[in-house]
């Protein structure tokens, strides 16, 4: 079946054959994969999808690959949790958590995009994949390159924390630390991708890579019994995820997989790096780049490539957006852990905190369904919590020591209770 028609410029509409290119030669606009939806209608059905594997590849007809998946056979199909406790705490009746903090194999939704990108890189015949990253993307590209037995070059700013370096190096890539300002690192990587014949997942492979994010949306709709929720709260960095979830919802409507899709897409960002939410709040399609200053490092893109398209997705869907402070982000992480037993990273803290704010402001009515998009794992960013966690009790190995400690804890809890009741 010829489902792929190559690439198409998002700005001027010019068409290109399928190739590892990402920018229109005429207007320098971004290129996007062009599908033949007519051909897909009737072929992609609820039944055909249900017959597929429990991974992102059950949606392969809507992904830009020609053959079979080369890597990441177990990526995706993460839990959609119906929340009781958090819903109660936030005062809403129907709340779900899409939990990509347990995405296989590197614990973030980036595995979805990278599995598609690396498969595509193999189809194009590349022997090397690359990316420029400070976190989740670096982990995922290195892991999938290892699985595909491809060489990988991962570019990072030289001052990256040790934890993130280990989480990448363990997969044995070539890790290139670049000394320079952030802008210099950006420009260099852009130039490297022009010069070397490598599959730079988020540069020359970007049109294919970004399509992987659609699977996050398909899964939510399928897991809801092919129903679209009234609201989704999505964390934004480059703005690709929210754009592609919105695209997934529209595709599912066009293909007749869902009847009515009136989902309002809400953008979640940190106050210290929120250029997309600023566009939404100011109601302007002009993106003003910012210098990031937030603990939500995985959302710290000051000049997002898809900022304009993310803004458009929010507007078209009738959604809104909100900024949250670093304190609110930490509260968000703790709230999700305390109520649902899910430990997410700072990006998830942003999403939870933004959801809370939007509910309190009445933007999300209390009787409408909401999906909170959790996209990464808390064990990658434990440092942000170090000052906020209670210390444990320490005792000698005797029962009487334990009894005393327990009595002390109960006494303290009683005092605390009295104070709160006053």
């Amino acid at each position: 079946m010829e489902k792929l028609r190559g690439l198409k410029c998002r700005e001027c509409g010019r068409r290109y054959p399928s190739a590892p290119v990402h920018i229109c030669e005429f207007c320098f606009g971004p290129l996007e994969v062009d599908y033949d939806y007519e051909a897909l209608r009737g072929i992609v059905t609820r039944t055909s999808i249900a017959a597929g594997p429990p991974s992102i590849w059950r949606y392969r007809d809507l992904l830009p690959i020609e053959g079979d998946a080369a890597v990441g056979h177990h990526v995706g199909f993460t839990p959609l949790v119906r929340s009781q406790n958090l819903a109660e705490e936030l005062g809403v009746s129907e709340l779900y958590i899409k939990n990509d903090s347990v995405c296989h194999p590197t614990w973030s939704f980036k595995d979805r995009v990278v599995a598609v990108a690396v498969t595509k890189a193999r189809e194009f015949g590349f022997d090397t994949v690359a990316c420029a990253s400070t976190g989740n993307l670096a982990n995922s590209v290195a892991a999938h390159a290892a699985e595909a037995r491809l060489k990988s070059y991962i570019f990072i700013p030289a001052d990256l924390e040790q934890g993130k370096i280990v989480g990448t190096l363990v997969y044995h890539p070539t890790l290139v630390a670049v000394e320079g300002t952030y802008d210099e690192v950006n420009r260099l990587c852009s130039e490297v991708s022009d010069k070397y014949r490598w599959a730079f997942v988020n540069i020359n492979i970007r049109p294919y890579y970004s399509e992987g994010s659609k699977t996050y949306g398909y899964e939510i709709l399928e897991q809801l019994g092919w129903r679209a929720p009234a609201h989704m709260v999505v964390p934004c960095a480059g703005g690709s995820l929210i754009t592609k979830i919105w695209k997934a919802i529209r595709e599912c409507t066009a293909l007749g997989l869902v009847e009515r899709a009136a989902t309002k897409m809400h953008a979640a960002q940190a106050a210290g790096c929120g250029p997309i939410v600023t566009m939404v709040k100011n109601d302007t399609d002009v993106l003003i780049p910012v210098r990031p200053n937030t603990i939500a490092k995985s959302l710290a893109i000051g000049n997002p490539a898809d900022g304009y398209y993310a803004y458009r997705a929010v507007k078209e869907s009738g959604g809104y957006g909100e900024h949250v402070s670093d304190e609110e982000i930490v509260e968000g992480i703790l709230l999700l852990a305390r109520t649902e037993g899910i430990f997410t990273e700072t990006a998830g803290g942003v999403t939870v905190a933004v959801t809370k704010k939007l509910i309190e402001a009445g933007v999300i009515p209390r009787d409408e369904s909401v999906v909170v998009c959790i996209t990464g794992n808390g064990l990658k960013t434990p440092d942000v919590l170090s000052e906020r966690l209670e210390t444990h009790v320490m005792i000698r190995p005797s029962l009487s020591a334990f009894d005393r400690a327990l009595a002390e804890l109960k006494f303290q809890a009683g005092q605390q209770g009295k104070k709160e009741n006053r």
Binding site: I23, A132, S133, N303
Partner: protein, 77 residues
Amino acid sequence: MRVRLTFPPERIQEPIIYHLVKDFDIVTNIRRADVKADHGWVVLELEGKEENLERGIAWLKGKGVKVDPVERDVVVP
């Protein structure tokens, strides 16, 4: 070299690109632009000697113009 220039409000009225061409011997080729009352950006191709490009870009930055690859931020968290 393909770049995106973002102009601060106070520079919108100035003939920045004219000076880039004239003073640094750079050839420019504008592909897309959007200039509003208070902000503006232009996506263009710059051609010239490596050192002229470097000097031209340094001059732009000195003027408060943001110079980015057309892809914008390439380093992804």
